[in-house]
């Protein structure tokens, strides 16, 4: 009897462990050594079609000023790694950034229809236009299908002949339609141009909606949206072609109270900035919405729920003290343009106090973890110093909104991260007594915080992960989140785990691959492939290792 009980206990324990360990599955392929000409500089995208995975990277001439004083422009070709289901590289293909002998610039490659679609742009100095081109490629041999198409065009000035891409491209979930927008607000301009833009009565942008046969469904040229300087911050559209475009209208009342999206020093007084939204239906009818009057945001984003057609707008409300004071949420139906809910949910002193008092969960600490803990404790002490002077009602350094997920109950799970930068000036003296100084900016990606928000916009509960990564290279966020089966998983370049939304701190576990192949100074990156899959890339010198990190779907 005792034996049976012991066996049952052992089974239960093993089940518990296996559940914990199997939640995130790692599949690592064999190490691949690409030829020199195929060694990429940047990994850009990962696509899953059938049983194969395609990792898109870019390689080309680096930007440099050579001995003769010539400055070489960036020009990249696409490199595509075709991987099988076991993460082994089957082939590497090059898609050159060139049409009819002319160099064009690469933008991105994605799935479109049942093929791959590569996007390029070209600045025509004579016509003073930037053109966007699309070329389809076969999946089997990456051979081009038909001729490339010009799918968008926008004006550039004489000075902007080397400008980057002005277009923003999105593809529907069913890969049947492509939305292209062109907004000149985000490009760097002279002071005179900025002044002229601010004095404009209306801000305008252009859009093109096309199907997978490159037929134009809908187009809008110089569509009015917002007043003065309005920045398009996100766009989404459903499979039917209903489009939703979100912008931030900057306040321009006085010189001092001018609020820029992501402004960290502004305060609320006298602010008349707002979020503006334009919903455009496939037949060209449009509805304009404005909301969050007088608010400004560190970051904001949209998320479409394809099942209901609801679009959630989420923003991190600015406090004026480099920390978010709350969440702004709004839900709009993309088909009817009906505003379903709008709410400004402030964290308040109690919630901020509760979050700031969290302690990291105890984990078997390696040396690096111990360092991280020390760093986290140091940060904590620093934040406590702030407490002594005043009781904050904002989350210090919580300024980056990373992702937003819908669950079946129309609830939102919002994930954000603490972020700040600091600079260090190093001075070195050589044997001859000559001193040289250089300044390095460090980007610090801090703790990850998640909130579960009710359909009405109220914060229900939160999750917290202690995290600290410092880099000298900028990325918007250094993690990704997968939300499946009502569970939230956070994956970083080295670790992953479930983030429990139980008002407590959760912990991440190092990937097996990270432990087994200890790589100092190795390059690591990750890209989401689907709702529950991420491809992890680890490379050192001449070798690349691809791993599939997937979250087990519950039936």
């Amino acid at each position: 009897m005792k034996n049976i009980l012991l066996l049952l206990c052992a089974l239960c324990i093993s089940n518990v462990f296996s559940q914990k360990n199997n939640a995130i599955k790692e599949l690592t392929g064999t190490e691949f050594r690409p030829e020199k000409k195929d060694r990429p500089y940047f990994y850009q995208n990962a696509i899953k079609i059938g049983d194969n995975y395609y990792v898109v990277a870019q390689k080309g001439d680096r930007a440099y000023t050579n001995f003769f004083g010539f400055y070489s422009r960036l020009k990249y070709d696409f490199k595509i790694f075709k991987l099988d289901a076991k993460m082994n590289v089957k082939s590497v293909a090059t898609i050159p950034a060139e049409f009819e002998g002319k160099d064009v610039q690469t933008l991105k490659i994605g799935r479109y229809g049942d093929k791959l679609c590569a996007l390029f742009y070209f600045n025509n100095r004579k016509a003073r236009k930037q053109y966007l081109f699309a070329q389809m490629y076969e999946l089997k041999n990456f051979a081009p299908v038909g001729k490339p198409y010009k799918i968008g065009e926008t004006m550039i000035t004489k000075k902007e002949s080397k400008i980057g891409c002005i277009f923003k491209v999105s593809i529907t979930d069913d890969f049947s339609k492509m939305l292209i927008t062109a907004d000149r607000t985000n490009i760097s301009r002279s002071r005179r141009e900025k002044k002229a833009a601010a004095e404009q009565k209306n801000h305008t942008f252009s859009y093109w909606l096309i199907d997978s046969d490159f037929k134009l469904i809908n187009v809008g040229k110089n569509v009015k949206m917002g007043k003065g300087t309005t920045e398009i911050i996100d766009q989404t559209f459903d499979n039917e072609g209903n489009m939703c475009i979100l912008g931030f209208e900057q306040a321009t009342t006085t010189k001092k109270s001018r609020y820029v999206f992501g402004d960290i020093d502004g305060d609320e007084d006298g602010n008349n900035s707002k979020l503006v939204m334009k919903i455009i239906r496939p037949n060209g009818e449009a509805t304009d919405l404005t909301f969050a009057n007088g608010e400004y945001f560190y970051s904001a984003m949209m998320k479409l729920n394809p099942n209901t057609g609801n679009v959630a707008v989420v923003g991190l409300l600015g406090s004026g003290k480099y920390g978010s004071k709350g969440l702004f949420t709004q839900q709009v139906n993309i088909k009817t343009a009906e505003v379903l809910a709008e709410n400004k949910s402030l964290f308040g002193i109690d919630l901020v106090k509760e979050i700031n008092s969290l302690k990291p969960p105890t984990v078997k600490s390696s040396k690096s973890n111990a360092k991280k803990e020390k760093r986290a404790n140091k940060d904590k002490k620093e934040s406590k110093k702030v407490k002594k002077t005043e009781v904050p009602d904002y989350l210090h350094m919580f300024v980056r909104l990373g992702s937003c997920h819908y669950n079946d109950s129309n609830e939102l799970v919002v994930v954000g991260q603490k972020y700040y930068t600091y600079t260090v000036t190093y001075t070195t003296t050589d044997s001859k007594g000559r001193t040289t100084t250089h300044t390095v900016t460090y980007y610090v990606y801090g703790d990850i915080i998640s909130f579960k928000v009710s359909p009405e916009g109220e914060i229900e509960n939160f999750g917290y992960i202690f995290h600290h990564v410092e880099t000298t290279a900028y990325v918007y966020k250094d993690y990704t989140s997968l939300y499946t089966g009502d569970k939230l998983y956070i994956l970083t370049k080295s670790s992953g785990g479930q983030m429990f939304l139980n008002n407590k701190a959760s912990s991440l576990q190092l990937f097996k691959e990270y432990n087994t192949i200890a790589r100092r100074n190795s390059y690591a990156d990750f890209m989401n492939v689907s709702e529950n899959e991420m491809i992890h890339i680890s490379s050192r010198k001449n070798k690349v290792l691809f791993s599939l990190i997937s979250v087990k779907l519950e039936k």
Binding site: D61, N66, F67, F68, G69, F70, S72, E98, F99, E100, G101, K102, D103, V104, F122, N123, N124, R125, K126, A127, K129, Y131, F133, A134, G146, K147, P148, Y149, K150, I151, E153, W208, I210, F214, K215, L216, N218, V219, G220, K221, N283, G284, E285
Partner: protein, 240 residues
């Protein structure tokens, strides 16, 4: 009544469709005639170039070279230069340092002809329009020169002139170069080279004093001079 309502409805529907379509113009339609969009007035994707170099012109040579890129990485440049006028720039400077017979003075070089061959390996640049390359540049020039020669004498030393002495110059440089397109079909290039050159003078008279017979004797000698040198060159080209 119903007809009127139907007509009104039809009008409204047509008005809506007009509204929806009015933004669409032919230029907005995706088009696969991309040549017109790529035409920015700059010649692209060519592999032939005619180039004028600055370095030979310093020596009074006028000419041009033709370059063809045979593959993405390999190109060959051949050039020809002619000198019709008298000039004394680099040769004078160089030959003044010759280990020539005592008292020999260089006056000027006259008619000459030069050839060059320059195989290149392109590190970057698919077409000849722009790129970075490394190559071996072989130059030969043959020309006629006049010299003042020292003539020793028992009474007073004098100088004699020897005209149309056959001279030649050969050089081999390892060159790093870079060229860039500007305008519609022009290129500008800069090169830096390190290498060796050799100057030859054939049948140069040498006057020596014969103590036994108390008179100067003429002998003809060949003079050779080798040296390590560097070259900086600028070029202008036209794409064909």
């Amino acid at each position: 009544m119903t007809n009127k309502v139907l007509l009104a409805m039809l009008f409204v529907v047509s008005a809506f469709s007009v509204n929806a379509q009015k933004n669409k113009s032919k230029s907005d339609e995706p088009s696969n005639n991309i040549s017109s969009f790529l035409n920015d007035g700059r010649v692209k994707g060519v592999n032939n170039l005619i180039r004028i170099r600055l370095a030979p012109s310093f020596m009074g040579y006028m000419g041009a070279s033709y370059e063809r890129k045979f593959t993405e990485k390999f190109g060959l440049e051949v050039g020809a230069n002619v000198k019709t006028n008298k000039s004394a720039i680099w040769e004078e400077y160089r030959e003044a340092h010759f280990n020539a017979p005592f008292g020999t003075e260089y006056i000027a070089s006259k008619k000459g002809i030069g050839f060059s061959i320059f195989p290149k390996y392109y590190k970057y640049g698919k077409y000849i329009n722009h790129g970075r390359y490394i190559g071996l540049q072989l130059n030969t020039r043959s020309f006629k020169s006049d010299f003042n020669l020292y003539v020793p004498s028992s009474i007073m030393d004098t100088y004699a002139t020897q005209s149309d002495v056959a001279c030649s110059y050969k050089s081999l440089f390892l060159v790093w170069g870079n060229q860039r397109q500007f305008g519609s079909r022009f290129t500008f290039g800069m090169e830096l080279g390190f290498g060796v050159n050799q100057d030859n003078i054939k049948k140069l008279n040498q006057y020596t004093w014969d103590d036994i017979n108390s008179k100067s004797i003429i002998t003809q000698i060949d003079v050779k001079h080798n040296q390590i040198t560097m070259q900086i060159d600028l070029s202008l080209g036209i794409l064909l």
